[in-house]
Symmetry: C4
């Protein structure tokens, strides 16, 4: 009975990973849909006008790059976490579902941020953007809590990786809350914190998977 | 001859699952495309205006959350059902196709519901929303009828799971029909039934896969 | 050397199938994006108005159903064909690429058909719709010509399936050409031929995979 | 310890490939979303008008075909490269991330090109289009530099393929830079260079994987 059950557990993680990969891949690709060809017909429509219009869209490019790499790093983390897990249960499915909800939501605040970056409402837009990552950071914390339980762990799970991850992820929600509050002082400060954080998560996962 | 045929059957279920996973993952991610950055330029465009505009979109958020978790639970059920199946045939492909049709359709009634939630047409929008789930519940019933036939069952299929699922799924179409009728009395009542139902399906699958 | 090469071939078919599955799954799900919440605010916006507006969208529903099941049946065929193939080469990649191009294109003529179904331009829209399937039918014929060559065939390929498929697929381009011409006589006739054809392809694949 | 580590490496490449396949498949399918049903109601809306309107959209079709096959050939290359790799590390993930960023970006310059093809701004649009491929060609070069390092290579990696690929990919960035500059002379020249280049990449991969 035991080998059958184990084989099932592995298969289940496989399909959970495949489904999650799909959601991450689609969410990351949908980000570009927010970029719309600018309409320069009203201003003569010369090559110079188009170049200017494309350059004026820089807040959209900043939002696209930040969101793209944040979602990409989330996927790398998701992947590294599930390498230590071989069974699934209802809690893991639920925590993963909340996390994926956060991931699919990212294109929306990205779009808000790009639309309002150069308006008086920019601070609120940046707070909404960073606030989304507070939600995702909380979901990630719940996700590792659900994943790193004894009955679900893979036989070759790395205890060092688990300890480091549980430690690092506690900083996620407060760090993004800081970025959310910073938005009301200065939009660029908030975005800078978000950028520093995804570079931090990228470095963290590189170190932790080596250890 | 027998091992070759069995290997083929397993491969076929694999690609059916992969394709279905893709459709579920895309349908669940497309839900967010219905959220559009609000246009507050006409009302001064201050930070407060944007915050108010974002809050005014709450019917869209309710629709997004309800549809996201309903589709997610459907995916978990789809996954649990196919764990008991190792071969496919034309009927299973057809029943799965109808089910996937229902799943890809979900973003449309969700969009209708969000657009009309605070208008006099809300009751019709909620009835259309719940009515879509009547269709999906019927498809799910056809799907398990097609999947749980002797020649397709996996050697280690759980008879207890099959019996419980066949029993539970009979309640799907009448329960969602009730939600559809309830929409004409009160929109919130209809949405509450839909929410209770996805929590019920989530609990059911947790119990049934344990059994 | 031989076993390594063979293992490579199998791996390559695997990724070709995974990529194609992804494209089919996305194309089939994007079809729903063409459905837009109707705007009934100008006509009072009552529940009855919304119901009428939703019913008036019936050409979109017809287009959605026809395209959805046509793409689904194409996927089942694609899948059945590649079960007989274990290696890939440049020609198979190219033929598959042309076929996937046709598949990703389907949402566009579907959208044209739905937009113009009740206008004087309906005949042209239906001809454009059926014409797309002429292109896809030609691509499918090139695809089986590329796939069913001796060096690519799997050791357990079914010669009966190959012969039947090569025979049946010759009828694809002329049958859809007939549907295209029929569009200029009567739009419903053209759509009826398209519907009969996907039912025919569904029946064919059921019979051929049994044989 | 060694076999466990190796098994992990293979699993990781698997999920990197699956995620990348998803992104390629979605980016290639989203290209069609830029095609919108033309609005001919203002000009009588006859069948002839619709036919003319569909023909007038030819710049969109040219952009769609060029981008579709360029992304498809990129996917074939990505696939052929990773067949020689069995482990992943942070650099490979980062280089792959930049490459996928370029791939998901393609629908945007394609849309710009189609919108401005017949306006005075066409030269700038074509330069933006070709310029995107300069970025992608640089990412591809970084990607093979990251992938073809000793510790990541698969035991059965083909040194001949690696040498040929490293040699060919050096021509990518200058060739697309030439196409970008050519755009300011003549838009058609720039597009012709882009088309010749994807045919060149298609031929290259066919030869190199045979060698």
């Amino acid at each position: 009975m035991e080998p059958t059950r184990k084989a099932h557990g592995e298969k289940e993680t496989g399909r959970l990973e495949a489904f999650s990969d799909g959601v991450f891949a689609i969410a990351i690709t949908l980000l570009v849909l927010d970029l719309k060809a600018p309409d320069v017909s009203v201003t003569g429509g010369s090559a110079t006008e188009l170049a200017k219009a494309l350059l004026r869209q820089w807040p959209s490019y900043v939002g696209l790059v930040t969101s793209f790499f944040t979602v990409l790093i989330m996927w790398v983390h998701h992947h590294a976490i599930l390498r230590n897990v071989c069974k699934t249960d209802a809690w893991l499915h639920f925590a993963n579902g909340c996390l994926l909800f956060g991931v699919t939501f990212v294109p929306y605040p990205t779009s808000i941020l790009a639309s309002y970056f150069e308006t008086p409402a920019a601070k609120m837009a940046a707070a909404f953007y960073a606030g989304t990552f507070v939600f995702i950071a909380i979901c990630f914390y719940l996700f590792i809590r659900a994943a790193f339980r004894e009955p679900l762990l893979s036989p070759d799970a790395s205890q060092a990786f688990i300890n480091k991850t549980c430690h690092d992820y506690m900083f996620g929600p407060p760090a993004y809350s800081l970025a959310t509050l910073a938005a009301f002082l200065d939009v660029r400060l908030s975005l800078a914190i978000c950028t520093i954080l995804w570079i931090f998560w990228a470095t963290t996962i590189t170190k932790n998977t080596k250890a």
